[in-house]
Amino acid sequence: MSRIEGVLKSLKGQGRKALIPYITAGDPHPDQTVDLMHTLVDAGADIIELGVPFSDPMADGPVIQQACERALRHGTSLRQVLGMVKTFRETDDKTPIVLMGYLNPMEAMGQEKFADAAVDAGVDGILTVDLPPEEADEVAPLFTARNLDAIFLLAPTTTDDRIRAISEHSSGYVYYVSFKGVTGAGKIDVDEVAAKVAHIHELTALPVAVGFGIRDAATASAVGRVSDGVIVGSVLVDTIARNQADPDQLKRALSDLLHPMREALDSLAS
């Protein structure tokens, strides 16, 4: 059983929902990332999605674009991001880490080399935004052979046939993108999400985590009610941007944001 599967099974056993924060590695500075990851865990994170910065993040809105630019200004490379995970693992061997990013930096390293380095660093899952299962036939076996979970996206536009096919290629969980748009944009329609997630649950046994549009305890609670977990990204990254000048204040601000979401999710537990 992978670390991701273990955590999600255990939560389910307790009737609890997963809280999955996203931050971009290297933002605001590479030296702060490991510390921020621990902060997220202390504030209630069950899994961390760690963004690998890319020069052309086509699926992201301005907030995460700017986070990528900040990280890249400090030269944050995929190799360095893996180093951060390795350092994080020295004091936390429980919290699963999912690397989230775009294909090109992984290809530039070499897929096999990347898969080896990811396992060595203690990464648990890989989510490549611009890699649909149709194009993953070379890389997927590399992940499977190393017990790395391949996490794919489902969207409001995904047809039933594709939901089934994508789920077959996925392990750990599937990531449901709650609305049509880039990260940090739009307003989530909870009823629509509830209907679609219920439908996805009919088509796959995998846990369904929902991202895009979750920004506070209320949205976390509303979406947590109908899914297995919530992914929180842009609102955290925006908090990083606004508090980048003061590292201690930044940690407090992230914690203050995440805590109420944790409590709201846990109050759903039956």
Partner: protein
């Protein structure tokens, strides 16, 4: 490798691959739209009504066929092969881009989409898109890098006059690649009612296929005109390559004609060795950007590199996947000329033939002159004059230190 019609028909394959290149590397939200577009295009491609309307528009709205002109004086001054010019600059809107926007706008109408988006570098594709949208009554949004808006201001104003909304893109390098990022972001958010008219043979499948098909009219005409006028096929074709739509349109109908050498000319900027260029086929390596696997300019960590070219339309770090394939199998040669050489080419054609090419096109002109000089007088070189240079007056004047 000797290419046959059968081999060409099999490409791209069902997943949109040209050998190792192409594909559909997009986020999930867009996937179903791409499948629908592919399905509908395959149906309409063989639909006589669709084809008749496309051909009619090319004839009566664009003004096709464009002439194949013998550049007698340039040939004499060069002192080598005969130089012929395929005059895409004489098309309505002044460039080859309109061939493709006519085709894609028809697709948009058949698919019932009311809103159109496009990215543009030099502004030629933006103008061509705004033009067809005005004619068909479609809402038009054009994404253009802040940097390009500055250097191609006449085209920005043209688009606005045509009723398009021009969105200034200030992220990343503020050029064509970032305009394409923002167009993709808009498309994800408005996928239900929006048709994305991509201007070049790059992007996710089926775009490289359908843009190539719409642009192939250039090569088909050239082939027939050359046979008609000279009794034989050309010996060499020369076209500039940014994303590569005018080049593929020119090359494609000649791919199985082994005797015809194909030259794609990339932007060498300040020189390949300077690193300040936009020549992924000459100096890049394969990677994934904007929905397809292709040659890219990137750093050792897989971050897309900044590019430089005097011409906004070539200032792009990637290239169409079919060109990557043609490079690898050795069917086409990819070369580069510098900013300075391109400017010389611009001046030469302007002064010797009275034809002012776009700065993009001037790259092809510069290389073709060098090439023709090495060839016998009975040989034929055809340059694709992909666009006219009016839009570049300001850039040229600035280089000359003149205020216009």
């Amino acid at each position: 490798m000797k290419l046959t019609e059968e081999m060409l028909k099999a490409l791209p394959d069902a997943r949109g691959h040209f050998g190792a290149y192409g594909g559909r590397f997009v986020s999930e939200t867009l996937f179903d739209s791409l499948l629908t577009l592919e399905r509908e295009y395959k149906r309409l491609k063989d639909d006589p009504e669709f084809q008749a309307e496309f051909d009619r528009d090319l004839a009566h709205y664009v003004g096709r066929p464009s002439p194949l002109y013998f550049a007698e004086r340039l040939t004499r001054e060069t002192g080598g092969a005969q130089i012929w010019l395929k005059r895409e600059d004489l098309n309505h809107t002044g460039a080859h881009k309109v061939n493709n926007t006519i085709g894609q706008a028809l697709l948009a109408r058949f698919l019932g989409k009311k809103r159109v988006i496009a990215e543009t570098g030099a502004g030629q594709h933006g103008v061509a898109t705004a033009t067809v949208c005005a004619r068909l009554g479609l809402e038009c949004h054009v994404f253009m890098g802040e940097e390009d808006i500055k250097r191609q201001s006449p085209n920005v104003y043209r688009m606005k006059l045509l009723g398009a909304v021009v969105h200034s893109v200030s992220s990343g390098t503020r050029t064509l690649k970032d305009a394409m990022n923002d167009a993709m972001r808009d498309w994800v958010a408005n996928v239900d009612d929006t048709f994305y008219i991509i201007g070049t043979v790059a992007g996710p499948h089926p775009y490289p296929l359908l843009v190539r098909d719409f642009q192939s009219v250039i090569g088909r005409e050239t082939r027939a005109q050359c046979l008609d006028r000279t009794g034989k096929l050309p010996d060499a074709l020369v076209a500039c390559v940014g994303g590569g739509s005018n080049a593929i349109g020119m090359f494609y109908p000649f791919l199985t004609d082994e005797s015809v050498e194909l030259y794609g000319v990339e932007a060498g900027g300040l020189g390949i060795e300077s690193g300040q260029h936009a020549a992924p086929l000459s100096a890049g390596r394969p990677g994934v950007l904007h929905g397809n696997r292709t040659y890219l300019m990137e750093d050792e960590n897989g971050q897309i590199a900044g590019t430089h070219s005097v011409s906004a339309g070539l200032d792009y770090p990637g290239v169409g996947p079919e060109h990557s394939w043609l490079k690898d199998i050795g069917r086409a040669h990819y070369v580069s000329v510098t900013d300075d050489e391109a400017l010389d080419g611009f001046r030469k054609l302007t002064r010797v033939e009275g034809i002012m090419p776009a700065l993009e096109t001037a790259h092809a002109v510069a290389y073709a002159i060098k090439l023709a000089a090495t060839m016998d007088k009975d040989k034929i070189v055809v340059i694709n004059i992909s666009g006219r240079g009016d839009k570049d007056m300001q850039t040229i004047a600035e280089i000359d230190g003149i205020e216009v």
